[in-house]
Amino acid sequence: MPEYTLISAPPLAGYDKDFTGAALKAPGDLAIVAVALPLKGEAAAKKAIKAAYGKALPEPGKSVASKDGARLVRLGQDAAFVIFTHATPDAEAVVGGKLKDTVYVTDQTDVWTGLEISGPNARTALERICPLDLHPAAFAVDDAYRTVMEHLGVLIIRTGEDAYLLLSASSSANSFLHAVETSITNVS
């Protein structure tokens, strides 16, 4: 038995709040692993992803949910995220184990902080900080874009009819939460 134990304390752990017309929640145990497609090894990597997750790697700006609940997010030409629920700090090994040596994996779990915003006012609230067009015709369910909100880089994924997962840097989590909360209260 080691003498000391480390306790997990992500910046917004346990945050869960209802507002008029919108709910805001920091999802627990969100693991994020970056997947890089090797140069000239893209085909093999995509094949391995398809085999491991049962879904083809989507095009840049899109995401797809696999059967086991993991979400594959294509960020750019050679970069993707696998986002899944996983508590222990070995997410990189989990994804690495599935994809073997076909890709380069890097744990990003603690780089980001997640916020789920949902409800009828969610889109109206995001209008105040998000420069992207979130109209359903322009931003379909599962679309995933990186952009900037209140000077902070954000990955926004439309996870439902009026639900979005927002990922921003964990070090500025408090500023990001403040920005989103302010938007919700300003439109409520």
């Binding site: 134990t5 480390l6 970069a79 990003q108 992207l132 070090s171 989590a173 300003n186």
Partner: protein, 982 residues
Amino acid sequence: MSQVNRIEGGLIDRSKTLSFTFNGKAMQGHPGDTLASALLANGQTLVGRSFKYHRPRGIFTSGSEEPNALVQLRTGAHQEPNTRATVAELFDGLNATSQNHRGSLEFDMMAMTDFVSPFLSAGFYYKTFMWPKAFWEKFYEPVIRSSAGLGRLSMQEDPDIYDKGFLHCDLLVIGAGPAGLSAALAAGRSGARVILADEDFAPGGRLNAETLEVDGMAGADWATQAIDELSAMDNVRVMTRSTVYGAYDHGIYGVLERCTDHLASSNGKPRQILWRVYSKRAVLAAGATERPIAFGNNDRPGVMLAGAVRDYANRYGVTPGQQVAVFTNNDDGWRTAADLAAKGVQVSAIIDSRDAPAVCDVPGARHVRNAAVVDTVGRKGLKSVTLTDGQVIPVDCLAVSGGWNPNVHLTCHQRGRPTWDDDLSAFVPGGELPVGMAVAGAANGAMTLGAALQSGRDVANAQVKDLGFTASRKAAPKAEDEPRECAAFWHVKESKKRAWLDQQNDVTVKDVKLSHTEGYRSVELLKRYTTLGMATDQGKTANIPALAIMAECTGKTIPETGTTIFRPPYTPVPLGALGGRARGKDFRPYRLTPSHKWAEENGASFVTVGNWMRAEWYTRPGEKGWRDSVDREAKNTRESVGICDVTTLGKIDVKGKDAGEFLNKVYSNTFSTLAVGKVRYGLMLREDGICYDDGTTARMGENHYVMTTTTANAVLVFRRMEFARQCLWPDLDVHLISTTDGWAQFAVAGPNSRNLLRKVVDEEHDISNEAFPFMGCGEITVCGGMPARLFRISFSGELAFEIAVPARYGNSMMGVLNEAGKEFNVAPYGTEALGVMRIEKGHATANELNGQTTAHNIGLGKMVSQKKECIGNVLSQREELIRDDDIRLMGFHPVDRNEKLIAGSHFITKGEDAIMDNDQGWMTSVAFSPNLGHSVGLGFIKRGHERKGEIVRAVSPVHGKEIEVEIVSAHMIDPEGERLRA
């Protein structure tokens, strides 16, 4: 005072009465009133004093173009100066005051400036305050300052909040008058996403001001019906109280929405929102602005634009006077006379500059043909007007119409130039319009109602078709085309008295002529010399008549004379709205280190480093100042062990088969040969050979390196490396990802650092000097299986490690390290002690790598490999950059150990004058070294490496001080590096 000028009709709600005050006087109005209409209803004709001459002024217009009726609204911290009464919505309890007078509005002590006006012509300031020079600061400037400006700021913090936002649409329709409504209806019916924005609180534009019919119903009713239809469409967003103030690149528009200005209180919601609208196409339907005619004393309260007089009567049920005359050069002016007469207001005369028959029958009014007004009487309110033939007509209101100018402003925001239309005697949109913009209605010269409605529909249909929508086949709403003949007539030459053009900046016809006489003939010079059009109304009613007069003077045509460039904003945008949320602590985001909470609980003070908040020191009980804490932390670290959160240093995971090869190219030294499990210091150059950034890079695996950058350059280095990867060497298999926020990293430094870490690192990992030597690294576990990265690197110069755990465990890790280190007297240290120790050790940071220094200067010249391709190595070998007699980084000790060194001091050889010619270099960093017991410094000095032991002077002319210093090795602590290898 009662509403003496209230007449029948209008779009106001008479069932409710609103109370307000003007200069303390209690008055009443109704919902639907503006402050201006309510003031007029209450017979308040005099509302302010002019800027320069303090002339009594009244309400001139009924819209956002108002030059005169600028008032101060509300009280206390909410006080807002320079608000146009013509667009301020009335609410119950509104408190308004007039501006720009000393003493009361009626008896302004500054009005004497009007009587000395012959001395205050255009260019007066330039000519007068030139001499004597000494007078400027002591006398002229204070006097000018005290008399300048109109309203007064509250000098308190703005208690309201402001917001920003982003909107997207296929088609933005600017203006909800007849053309705009017709356009929005057509586009909305096609299914396109439409935003309809209008500055007014009641959409309809001139439809609300006129008695004209659309589709067989009153224009205002039709507008309401159109808005109802639009509001019911899911694809249409109607924005009232929203001014489109600027047209920017690629279909982006700026919109200011006034959310709560019409309410007594904002109730915690944003007062205004600054929207950025992304449109694929736009229809500008901004309407037209009426222009005045210049004649003697045409600025008296009671002289108004004819369209405004009609607006007050029809929309607000207010007559601006009991006895009205109309002075016009066009048919439209006649409608004011007709509408007023129909409402029972006495119209005494219609003075038409044209020798033409009556446009319509106006009961009780005399038609004076081929005539003009030369002068007026009535200082604080119009009493009579005098015509060219000398006859005097007693009136308390004169409605003036000089024709209408299309509102082309937004068409010019991308430097498009309007073209002159002879038929309209006005500028219409021309040249290249902003991308995606088309113009409809009066803004495009379709000056009659039927034509405006038709043009709105047609232009919108063309726009949506262009986007691939099927245009609705529904016909445009039907209306008559009213008479609109106009004969250009700019000013009354017979007038002997001053005739105003720009009422807000007090520019007269004479000023324009003077400007011409003195050679300022281009419109751009005219504007700057006379200040024409430079007030808050941007000369909306003034510019065209002034241009016409300049054209007359020069004998050129108006189009040859040209216009000044219209720039955003169309109407003023408050700074609060531009600032949005970015105020106080919300000015920018903050980044917190993983151990922030622990640091807060343990006495830390924080310093902002970029967006980061870092602990600068940890105050312990009994410590009187920061030096006490910093000295203790630095000493304790060297004597036993200290811990510092160094998470802020940039971390970039570099992966790929060619990762080593790639690092060879971005670093000046070689990394492909680095063994797995080893760390190397790396120096990056800019392409010009100057030092860029430095840090350590660890090889964690065959295809995996972990690079660290300085805190300040983390983002820049990543950007640069992506450039190298994608643009310079796209054939390499290498991938970059930032992990800065992912790992909580702590420096554990000092002779006891290994002993401390031994207690938290899991037993199976051997961290002895043999197994884990200096510059070793590895993936280990701590506290029973927690994955961690361990690096044996040292910024302090002591035996030291940096240990990283997943960031969510960082706060806990800081606690554990401090708990485990108790037996070694561990102490956390902040950025100040970190700085002290790196200076003692001679490690360079931004003070030394300042964008001007080379590897050679910092003594690392040999590190720049010439055997491989890398950024900066070619130009780093330029003659001047590798001179042997160039500056070198050295350490400096004061000869008198009690002296405190000054950063920025320049080195002068003993016995030479302290002048730039004798400059030998400069001190870059200084600190008090608690370990050496005196002040120490780092600095660059010529041939420093050959001058160890020499005494030079460190001179700071700024402080008026010089100190004798000894040149020593930059490594002032443990120069042989024995400690870090222990």
